[in-house]
């Protein structure tokens, strides 16, 4: 069958693996969005800009403090999370009572401001960030050459997604969080500080974006536009997965990465729109998304 359309199976495996790698970024970003949407009911349009911020923090650390990739992997999400907490505490918090569009517009504006600032100071051609020494080079898998770093991205992304899913679905803290989204007043009456929990959730969600930014830095050049290029696709991923469904966001992230990978072989020109075509189909057939429930 493969020969019929002129693609040898080996090339296909290679493309599937590449799709999985891109899917890792989609999954990490859509996970953060789903956590924030699920817990705060806020559509966080600043997610792409915070992903970009994560990559830039990594670059700053290397450039000005001489701290390499491993430091960045820890410090950058913390820094981005802290920025997120400040945003939530000082601004976003005031919008919960209003229509959701306010949250969307606020975060959208925030994204434009952040991007504008970085564009002004750093231009758009981007800064280069080298691959950590441990992951330099790669290995030949027979059907493709796999750079070690890309392998690491897949492993780390799966680990982080699984851990987050476990924390929210299976732990006591997670159960508080889920309860607080259903009925914040009731949970508060049990002596749990819901506002703090919400703040920390937002901080955690955007820290995931920061982490994805650090992971992306050695692959793509660190540039102010990197977030806005990605965020639209990631939103489509969240819609397909089902709004607020953590499992759905992660699974559809990987799945769409794979599908996009295949499109790049069979019909490269359509690679940018395939995700949106799928979004339309999914919304027609299952308006709540693949894993979402009507609310």
């Amino acid at each position: 069958m493969f020969e019929l359309i002129g693609i040898p199976p080996q090339a296909l495996f290679g493309q599937l693996l590449l799709g999985l790698i891109n899917g890792s970024f989609y999954a990490l970003l859509s996970l953060g969005l789903a956590v924030i949407f699920g817990m705060l009911n806020v559509i966080n349009f600043a997610h792409g800009a915070l992903y970009m911020l994560g990559a830039f923090v990594a670059w700053f650390l290397l450039q000005y403090l001489g701290l390499g990739y491993w430091w960045a992997l820890v410090l950058s999400p913390v820094a981005v999370g802290a920025v997120g907490i400040v945003i939530e505490k000082t601004m976003l918090q005031r919008l919960y009572k209003l229509d959701h569009l306010y949250g969307l517009l606020f975060t959208f504006g925030l994204a434009l401001i952040l991007e504008g600032i970085f564009k002004h100071f750093y231009g758009v051609s981007g800064q280069s960030y080298t691959t950590p020494d441990l992951f330099k080079g790669g290995t030949n898998l027979g059907f493709m050459f796999l750079p070690y770093y890309r392998g690491w991205v897949v492993v780390l992304s799966i680990a982080v997604c699984a851990a987050t899913w476990y924390a929210i679905e299976k732990t006591r803290l997670g159960s508080y969080l889920r309860a607080a989204t259903e009925n914040p007043r009731l949970v508060q009456s049990f002596g749990i500080n819901v506002p703090v929990m919400i703040t920390l959730t937002y901080g955690f969600g955007v820290a995931l974006a920061g982490l994805a930014g650090v992971m992306a830095a050695p692959i793509y050049s660190v540039n102010p536009l990197m977030g806005s290029n990605l965020i639209i696709v990631v939103f489509a991923v969240v819609v397909i997965g089902g709004m607020g469904s953590i499992f759905g966001a992660v699974v559809s992230g990987y799945l769409l990465g794979l599908l996009e990978g295949l499109t790049k072989v069979f019909m490269p020109e359509a690679a940018n729109i395939v995700v949106f075509v799928i979004m339309v189909v999914v919304l027609l057939l299952r308006p709540a998304g693949l894993f979402g429930r009507e609310r």
Partner: protein
Amino acid sequence: MFKKALLAGVAASALITGTAMAEGLSGDKVVVGVLTDLSGVYADIAGKGSIAAAEMAVADYGGTVLGKPIEILSADHQNKPDIASTIAREWIDAQGADVIVDLVTSSVGLAVQGIGGEKGVVTINSGAATVRLTQKECTATGFHWIYDTYSLAHVTSPAVIAEGGDSWYIITADYAFGHSLEADAASVIAEKGATLVGTVRHPFPSADLSSYLLQAQASGAKVIGFANAGQDTINSVKQASEFGIVAGGQKLVALLAFLSDIHSIGLELGQGLNVTTGFYWNMDDETRAFAERFNEKVGRMPTMVQASVYSSTLHYLKAVEAAGTDDGATVAAKMKEMPVKDAVVHDGTIAANGRMIHDMYLMEVKKPEESTGEWDVYKLVRTVPGAEAFQDPKESGCALVE
């Protein structure tokens, strides 16, 4: 409700807009419009630097022409032909623009040149690369300045083929510019007896090009050519190195790379790349002096597009002075009569189809140890005379050529 809001967001994000910064002036003056990309992928190639270059040209000319003041308008076309067309019409109809320069992005360049032709306003493309501008779609008032896809292909490809690169795979950006460059490269490849093993077209812009690179790697071609630009080229070269393509013995050729791209790729990954350019700052005292002044103003060395905006604006002003009018058709005819001579282009002529013909340079990206500074990235391989680098106007198919 939530879904509706989220979908609204998806739609809104497609409308991410930059700020148009058109200044509203018209009247008894020469109005130069710099229509460029101020917020997108080509903002470092052209962008603010192009506006600065036009300002330098106006200042160097003395700020007035025929005793009238010279005004500069600028706006962000966001690489979208529809937005660019709206701005161009606005400028011409309401603000009295006499010339529109820069026009980075080929689809934009073609659209605005068409409008200029229809309205008798001079358009000078510096940023757009497609050779179609001076072929069938040429206009009496349309000019194409520092480079085009034809010259890129006809300077770089023969040199690579002569060194034994006789089988090619081309990775192309899927829009007017990429198609044009791919077609020109393919014709050189065929002409020189090399084979084109395959091509793949990727959406513009694409952050991840690994999939296309892998297809190119699997093709077994000796040379992988990138018919893309800006961020796409940067990512192509970076990711090619990541996937061991260079280490595997395939040669990379960036059919179009600007100084800012090489600066961003870095010499470590970029070394050995062949690049064709119409301007490089470190050629002689004149280019160095110009580039230093530009660097003081902008904080970066000029790309060939920015240098070209300077040269073309200056030439336009000289022609207005010589023609004694700012009537588009008259000035355009005068521009074609006069030789192009300034700090950027030392010895250029303009053909009837609007093509400015001058020497092109085949460069090689230096090794890190050969470089003496941040912007010291190229060594000259060969100076290619204009007649060899650019398409013979007689073969262009432009109706203006006898």
